[in-house]
């Protein structure tokens, strides 16, 4: 199998896709945003519980491709306990990683497990899949939108 494909669908991504973490509706969320990619039908809701400027809890539900679902799952795992500023900073770095602005070597240090999404760099058509949950989370943090669309 091609290396690029193996880099894209790494085992950890497949694991999160099959068994997504924090995959639930959150009844006491302080913010929630629907993310939708009308082109491929990816559709998620991201829930945040933010108290004292800290993301106390984060969860999601919805359907979509392996990349978007694994991205949402790993994002929720990465965000718990982060401050708003830290969450926004992770979003920026993740964005830079999948769009190829951040070197893979550098990413491992700054993004930890999320660095597995470096494989997306080779598949520009899939950047939107990886970034959709993050955009939704970002909007939920800012509290300015209830529906986010990437197209």
């Amino acid at each position: 199998m091609m290396d690029e494909l193996r880099d894209l669908y790494q085992q950890v991504i497949l694991d999160h896709q099959k068994a997504p973490r924090n995959f639930r509706k959150m009844e006491n969320a302080t913010a929630s945003v629907e993310g939708y990619n009308p082109l491929c039908g990816d559709h998620y809701t991201i829930y945040l519980l933010v108290e004292d400027d800290v993301v106390r809890d984060v969860s999601f539900e919805g359907t979509g491709c392996a990349i978007s679902k694994a991205s949402a799952s790993m994002m929720t795992a990465a965000l718990k306990g982060k401050t708003r500023a830290e969450a926004e900073s992770l979003f920026e770095k993740f964005h830079d990683l999948v769009t190829g602005k951040l070197e893979v070597e550098q990413a491992a240090g700054e993004l930890g497990k999320l660095a597995v999404f470096a494989g997306v760099q080779e598949f520009p058509m899939r950047v939107k899949c990886a970034i959709l949950p993050w955009h939704s989370m970002h909007s939920a943090l800012e509290g300015d939108k209830t529906v986010v669309s990437t197209e």
Binding site: L5, D42, F123
Partner: protein, 418 residues
């Protein structure tokens, strides 16, 4: 690997596909080191050299703006453009060249009818009838005019195979129905609709019918007089011609009664600040400088398609459809979406362990170009309760090898996801 015993024998007078493939230079390329298996002709067909050269030859030696130019070059260009209209008339057997309106594509053709005929004929409480398998381009223009006029959009339902329910259709035809607008062939499901019956039932009540023929012309011959449809819309780029040009056929009496679509040059006879007198057909509907080279390309595409026997094209595509259907159904977890008895060369499918978007990415790395998504037919996806499908579609240049490449690439999907 699919079982070669399933390959149906070629029929006498079959297409020489190897020779056809040489007409399409793009097919000789490889992507990511793999032979290209182009299986997305329902989205857009590739272009034969004959079309490419007609367009470049036109720009090289015959190009100028058309109509009204007093110099030879403009006359040459005008002749080439009007020759395209003559060829199109003949191609779909319209009665009169003036019934051939050049537009940007099927979408613009439907919008034109909705905004002119629709605006004139549809009133409060009236109804427009479409079907459950329409492309967005044959839904939204009607929704817009219905909303504007306070009219109702009624939808012919379909069964689980993706076939329209004609009994239900008949019930939707009432005194308030102003037009029926139906896909000839569904882009998402491949269903060939019984348009002759659909037209006859509507005409019994005096209701005109528009057919969206975007998917048809590359596959089936169309005779608008024999069908007796009132409007027929199609795009050049789905029948081996260029993008940016398409055709609206309309019966002359209807077109003459309709108000213009857009205002501008070419669609007028005289203009003063007090009053404008509109031009005759077809120019009344062709405001502004048209896609002249597109017309030339369309004419070349018609010539190209006409150089083959239609029966041979149909037999070739049906053979591929049968072969691919059998091969795909052997893949565990794969389900076809759209299993109408009368189908064109389109296969939509879902696999229970992989999302269509992931499937398309993996297929791409194996050189297989398919489409994944809602195919601009979200209501169809909702009807079959799937977020999206993967769609393989065939043209005259496709081979059993292309299908095998698809099937083998789907094994990679299985390796990764199952």
């Amino acid at each position: 690997m699919s079982d070669p015993q399933f390959i149906p024998p070629p029929v006498a007078g079959a297409l020489d596909v190897e020779s056809i493939r040489r007409d399409f230079p793009i097919l000789a390329q490889s992507f990511r080191g793999k032979r290209l298996a182009y299986l997305d002709s329902a989205a857009s067909t590739q272009k034969p050299l004959r079309v490419i050269e007609a367009i470049s030859g036109f720009y090289t030696s015959r190009y100028a703006n058309i109509h009204r130019g007093a110099y030879t070059l403009s006359e040459l260009a005008t002749d080439a453009y009007e020759e395209a209209r003559r060829k199109t008339r003949e191609f779909i057997n319209a009665e009169d060249e003036r019934e051939i309106i050049f537009v940007r594509g099927t979408t613009e053709a439907v919008n034109l009818v909705a905004q002119t005929f629709g605006r004139m004929e549809i009133g409060t409480g009236d109804a427009v009838v479409i079907s459950a398998m329409e492309h967005h381009s044959n839904i939204v223009p009607w929704q817009m005019i219905c909303e504007e006029k306070g009219a109702v959009l009624k939808v012919i339902p379909m069964n689980d195979r993706g076939e329209l329910l004609l009994d239900e259709y008949e019930k939707l035809l009432t005194d308030s129905t102003r037009i029926v607008a139906i896909a000839h062939i569904s882009n998402a499901l491949g269903t060939i609709n019984p348009v002759r019956d659909i037209i006859e039932l509507a005409h019994r009540k005096g209701i005109p019918v528009l057919l969206d023929g975007a998917q048809t012309l590359a596959h089936l011959p169309v005779d608008v007089r024999d069908l007796d449809c009132d409007f027929y819309a199609f795009s050049a780029h789905k029948m081996y011609g260029p993008t940016g040009i398409g055709v609206l056929y309309g019966k002359r009496k209807l077109l003459e009664a309709m108000p213009p679509y857009q205002g501008g040059g070419d669609m007028i006879r005289s203009v003063t600040f007090e009053k404008t007198i509109y031009n005759d057909l077809p120019y009344k509907f062709e405001a502004g400088t048209p896609h002249i080279a597109g017309g030339v390309g369309l004419a070349a595409a018609i010539d190209y398609l006409s150089s083959f026997s239609r029966d041979a094209i149909i037999a070739h595509e049906n053979r591929l459809l049968d072969y691919a259907t059998r091969a795909l159904l052997e893949i565990p977890g794969l389900r076809l979406v759209g299993t109408a008895r009368d189908k064109a060369g389109v296969i939509s499918f879902v696999i229970d362990y992989a999302h269509p978007h992931d499937i398309a990415t993996i297929l791409d790395t194996e050189g297989v170009a398919v489409r994944s998504g809602h195919h601009c037919a979200q209501p169809v996806m909702q009807r079959f309760n799937v977020p999206a499908t993967t769609r393989a579609s065939f043209g005259i240049y496709n081979t059993v090898e292309d299908v095998d490449q698809l099937v083998n690439a789907l094994q990679k999907v299985r390796e990764i996801f199952a």
